[in-house]
Structure formats: structure tokens, C-alpha cells
């Protein structure tokens, strides 16, 4: 009987468990879970604050998931080293776990910037984990003025989630527009306007020079009083354990399309890895939930002797604020087709007869058809691309493809 160990208990770990069980119904699975919660999806913590989910519904899997999968979960345990030659993992309590195959699914860590005077701030939080959200929930009331540093996904969703619980929310970012890693100023402006209409304030193109207790002194010279600080500057892959074990790492843990690291018996999946990006044909951190889930499944199946290839991953994101949704995917290279209305922007990027990426704000209907074209590398010459530009539709595919999609089992 094989011994499997999964380090981490997020979405990639859940996928890994299912992947192992798709091949091996018998082997022993041990999950090392730093957090004392069954698997939940981190992006849900803003919805928790907003009241759109609760501690009962936030679980990613049914309550009997681990039992049904025959897994042992070590809650509150941390792996501190991996000996890949002896195939042994040492935990923080000194105990060891032997493995035939192990998967590192440690996710990402918040990037903590070194602001001057940060230690003088009495109430400061990251916004990564459910425990962060529970602590933040306790720290605020209707009189709280919240300052969020960072206008990325985490900071923005935190703002939306907490807005109705507090007196004010201000987001500050050095970038001149929100979501700078995926949107340009025009698209970002639509989202910012929607958030401002709902009472969220922005200080863009500025940053904090110094914190003095509950006062932020800005680089531009102004000051801002606040009660609670949320640091959402960014995240980085948690690759330290793999690196110390001798696995090849760059920004994240380098994996092949079978989610294998450079060390035998050791796999990795999710936000901690760098893997094949189908949109750019390069190795990248593809930190998003669908990839974590699919990479985890592939890793698990392959750990158990299966052969599941993960070569369709791309960057993609669906984010919405107060009913206005934006989706982005792939890479923004090549020619661009653009369509705009008041309140919506669509951009499709294409090159070498392939759709490479898209940005959709306020016009997200059936976007999965575009996403699948990037993932599957559908030649644009094989479809009616002019029709597809106007709106995502399977009608743009040739007849035999339509027949296969809608006249047969898929």
C-alpha cells in the first residue's frame, strides 16, 4: 500500500486527494494542514464578511469529504523540511511522515512591505485566510475607518466585503489605477467608478511614507486617520520548503506538465508552482482557483501511477463589484479587436492564428467559449472569427464541431 502526503489543505490539495483516489482507492493519504479548518476557498473570505456565505456554507467540500476519501488530516501542523532522498517529511512537532509520493500545495503568502512605523499601528491585518477574516470581523464596528493598502484583487474584494460593516473604507495604491496587473486605466476606471458609487474611496498614485499609530502620512504630503489597517500589497508563491529540499524553484516551484518537481516522488500544485502556460508557451505562476484544482488533480493521479497531463492552464480571472463583472484571460499580445459601449469594454487579443487573451468588462456572457479557444489553441482560420468577435458563440465553429459538441456526449 502506497503512502501519500499532501502538504497544504487548500484547493490544490482537495484536487490532489481526488486525483489519487481516481487511480488508487487503497493507499494511505495524510494531509498536513497549517490552518485548523477543512478545505475552503480563500477568495470566499470577502463574501463571508459581506454575508453572502457563512461558516457553514464556506466549506469547499461536503463535511464528510476526508472521511469518504479515506484521508487523515493533521490540523495545525506545519511541514518544516523534506528529505527527498529518504522520502521523509519532518513536521514542526518533530514527528516525521514517510512517503512514496508527496505533493507540495502550500499556496501563496502575503507579501509584507516594510513601511516605516508599521509597528506603531495597533490594528493591522492581512487578508488571506479565514482566520484573517474572522480577526478583521472582530476588529471593526460601525465607527471603524478602514485603510486598505493595495488595489489588487485581495484589497478590492476586502473593501467590498467590509464596506457595510464599517464607517468608511479607503484604498491606497501606488499604481495609478486598480488591478494594474490585469487591467488598463480605462477598464479599471469602470470598476473604480462602480465602487466609488457604493461608498469606497480611493487614493491612487500615492503611498504611505510613514505610519504614526492610527495616522498614515502619505508620500504626497497629506495625512489620513484610520482605525484598522489591511495590508493587501500582493502575494508570492510559498516555495521555501521545496527550495530548501533542493527542488528547482524560481518565483515558484518549477513543475512539468505532470506536476512533477525536479525531485523524484515530489509533486507540486496550485499557487506555489510555476507551470506551463498555454497562452504564452512559457513557464509561469498561474495562481488561480481553476488551475489549482486541475493541477492538484493531475498531481494526485500521477502520484498514484496515472497519466494526467496538465497543459491547458492559462491566467484567468473573474472578478465583480456591486454587480459589474470583469473577466480577463491569457496574455495581451498581438492584434486587438475592441468594442466599447458606455459601461462596457471588450478586447480580444490574437496572434499567429490563435486567440491569446481577452479583457471583458460588463460584457461577460458566454466568455468560456473564448477561454476554451485559448486553452485548446483553436485555429482562428477554422472558425468564423468575425462572428465570434461580436459575441462569444459556438455558432462560429464549423458544422462538424457543432455536431460533436451538441449531438454527442462530451
Amino acid at each position: 500500500m502506497k503512502n501519500y502526503v499532501i502538504i497544504g489543505n487548500g484547493i490544490a490539495a482537495a484536487g490532489c486527494i481526488e486525483g489519487i483516489r481516481s487511480v488508487d482507492g487503497e493507499g494511505k493519504i495524510t494531509v498536513v494542514s497549517g490552518e485548523k479548518h477543512p478545505v475552503y476557498c480563500r477568495p470566499l473570505i470577502s463574501y463571508y464578511l459581506e454575508g453572502r456565505t457563512d461558516l457553514e456554507r464556506i466549506g469547499y467540500k461536503a463535511p464528510d469529504f476526508y472521511e469518504r476519501m479515506g484521508c487523515k488530516v493533521l490540523y495545525g501542523a506545519k511541514a518544516i523540511s523534506i528529505d527527498s532522498k529518504k522520502r521523509k517529511i519532518t513536521l514542526d512537532d518533530g514527528s516525521t511522515l514517510s512517503y512514496d509520493a508527496a505533493c507540495i500545495a502550500t499556496g501563496s503568502l502575503p507579501f509584507l512591505p516594510g513601511f516605516e512605523g508599521l509597528e506603531t499601528v495597533p490594528k493591522k491585518y492581512s487578508f488571506m485566510t479565514l482566520d484573517d477574516a474572522l480577526a478583521l470581523e472582530k476588529a471593526v464596528d460601525k465607527s471603524s475607518r478602514v485603510l486598505i493598502i493595495g488595489a489588487g484583487m485581495i484589497g478590492l474584494k476586502c473593501a467590498e466585503g467590509i464596506r457595510d460593516r464599517v464607517q468608511s473604507v479607503t484604498i491606497c495604491d501606488l499604481a495609478d489605477h486598480l488591478l494594474p496587473s490585469v487591467l488598463d486605466a480605462e477598464c479599471a476606471g469602470l470598476l473604480q467608478e462602480r465602487m466609488e458609487d457604493n461608498g469606497i474611496r480611493f487614493i491612487m498614485g500615492d503611498s504611505v511614507a510613514e505610519f504614526q499609530g492610527t495616522k498614515a502620512v502619505l508620500k504626497s504630503g497629506g495625512t489620513l486617520d484610520f482605525d484598522v489597517l489591511v495590508l493587501a500589497v500582493g502575494v508570492r508563491p510559498d516555495a521555501a520548503l521545496a527550495k530548501e529540499a533542493g527542488a528547482k524553484t524560481d518565483r515558484g516551484i518549477i513543475t512539468d506538465t505532470h506536476m512533477k518537481t525536479s525531485l523524484p516522488g515530489l509533486y507540486a500544485a496550485g499557487d506555489c508552482v510555476e507551470s506551463y502556460d498555454a497562452a504564452t508557451n512559457s513557464i509561469k505562476v498561474l495562481a488561480n482557483l481553476p488551475n489549482a484544482s486541475m493541477q492538484g488533480f493531475a498531481a494526485g493521479a500521477n502520484m498514484a501511477g496515472g497519466d494526467v497531463v496538465c497543459d491547458k492552464g492559462i491566467m484567468m480571472n473573474s472578478i465583480g463589484f456591486y454587480g459589474l463583472h470583469a473577466m480577463t484571460a491569457g496574455s495581451y499580445e498581438g492584434e486587438v479587436y475592441e468594442e466599447k459601449t458606455e459601461g462596457s469594454v471588450k478586447r480580444l487579443y490574437y496572434k499567429d492564428d490563435l486567440l491569446k487573451g481577452f479583457v471583458l468588462v460588463g460584457c461577460c456572457e458566454r466568455a468560456g467559449i473564448y477561454t476554451s479557444m485559448i486553452r485548446e489553441k483553436t485555429p482562428l482560420s477554422s472558425i468564423d472569427f468575425d462572428l465570434m468577435k461580436k459575441g462569444a458563440t459556438t455558432a462560429a465553429f464549423p458544422k462538424e464541431v457543432r455536431h460533436r459538441k451538441f449531438g454527442g456526449a462530451v
Binding site: L44, Y47, K61, P290, T371, D384, K405, A409
Partner: protein
């Protein structure tokens, strides 16, 4: 497994399937009261291109990317039917971003809904199929998923 299939050559583009779907899932007893003068949110829709029309609803994929992508754990495979737990859905639309068939859309309140083959509503069998005037939509076995 029996699935919903479309024969695009026979589709008249009448959109009756959309109305039958919305009615079957409305819980109402009277179609006129349920749908008249209201925007409808069916779980099937007609795609059109020049003279071609056909209906699209969930394919109930063997390896469903929507289930693997759902951030809330709201989409799941129950046997071979893909279902959404609306109580868990947070309306992030990640499933819309990944479905290769464009078969998913939110309801009026921004919560996801999808074709669950009418197995648990008052119709008991796919209403789109039952009401299709030209048998362009059928509910039958056509072999296993690829």
C-alpha cells in the same frame, strides 16, 4: 446516461424551449402568470447564425471544468448530472468564464442556475424536449462521453 441533444437541421428557432424551461423551473402552475411581460431567465438558449439555429444547454460533461473551477464548491456532479447549490453560489461567474459551451448564465438575482434536466422540478423530464414542436431537441442515450 440520457442527455439532451440537438438536431440543428430541425430547429425552427422558435425559442419555445426557452419559455418551457423558464416555466418548468418557475415553480408556478400557470405559464401566463409565470412569464407574461417578464424578462425570462431560461437555462437553455438559442444560438443563431444566418439560417442556422440550435438550442444550447449544459452538456453534463464527463470531466466538467465548471465543477473544477467553482470557487464556492457550489457546482458538483451528482451521479452524472451536474448541479448547482444556489445556497452556496456567491455569483462570481467563474463558471461562465470557463464553460466551453456558453451553457451557464446567472438568474435574475445574480446567482447561477443551470440545466439539471428537469429531473427534480414539476416537469420531471426535460421541458425543452417535451415542448419542442419539431423534435429538434431530444432526450436519449447516445453512447458514453468521450
Amino acid at each position: 446516461m440520457k442527455r439532451v441533444f440537438v438536431n440543428e437541421e430541425w430547429c425552427l428557432g422558435c425559442h419555445l424551449c426557452e419559455y418551457n424551461c423558464a416555466f418548468a423551473n418557475s415553480g408556478a402552475k400557470d405559464m401566463v402568470l409565470a412569464l407574461k411581460d417578464k424578462p425570462i431567465y431560461p437555462r437553455i438558449h438559442i444560438e443563431e447564425r444566418e439560417s442556422i439555429t440550435y438550442a444550447v444547454s449544459c452538456r453534463h460533461c464527463k470531466d466538467p471544468i465548471c465543477v473544477k473551477s467553482c470557487i464556492a464548491g457550489a457546482l458538483s456532479k451528482d451521479g452524472e448530472v451536474i448541479k448547482v447549490d444556489q445556497n452556496k453560489c456567491v455569483g462570481c461567474l467563474t463558471c461562465v468564464m470557463v464553460c466551453p459551451y456558453g451553457a451557464l448564465a446567472p438568474n435574475e438575482g445574480g446567482v447561477m442556475q443551470k440545466c439539471e434536466l428537469c429531473l427534480e422540478n414539476s416537469c420531471g423530464e426535460p421541458a425543452c424536449v417535451k415542448g419542442c414542436p419539431n423534435r429538434a431537441i431530444v432526450y436519449e442515450e447516445r453512447g458514453e462521453a468521450l
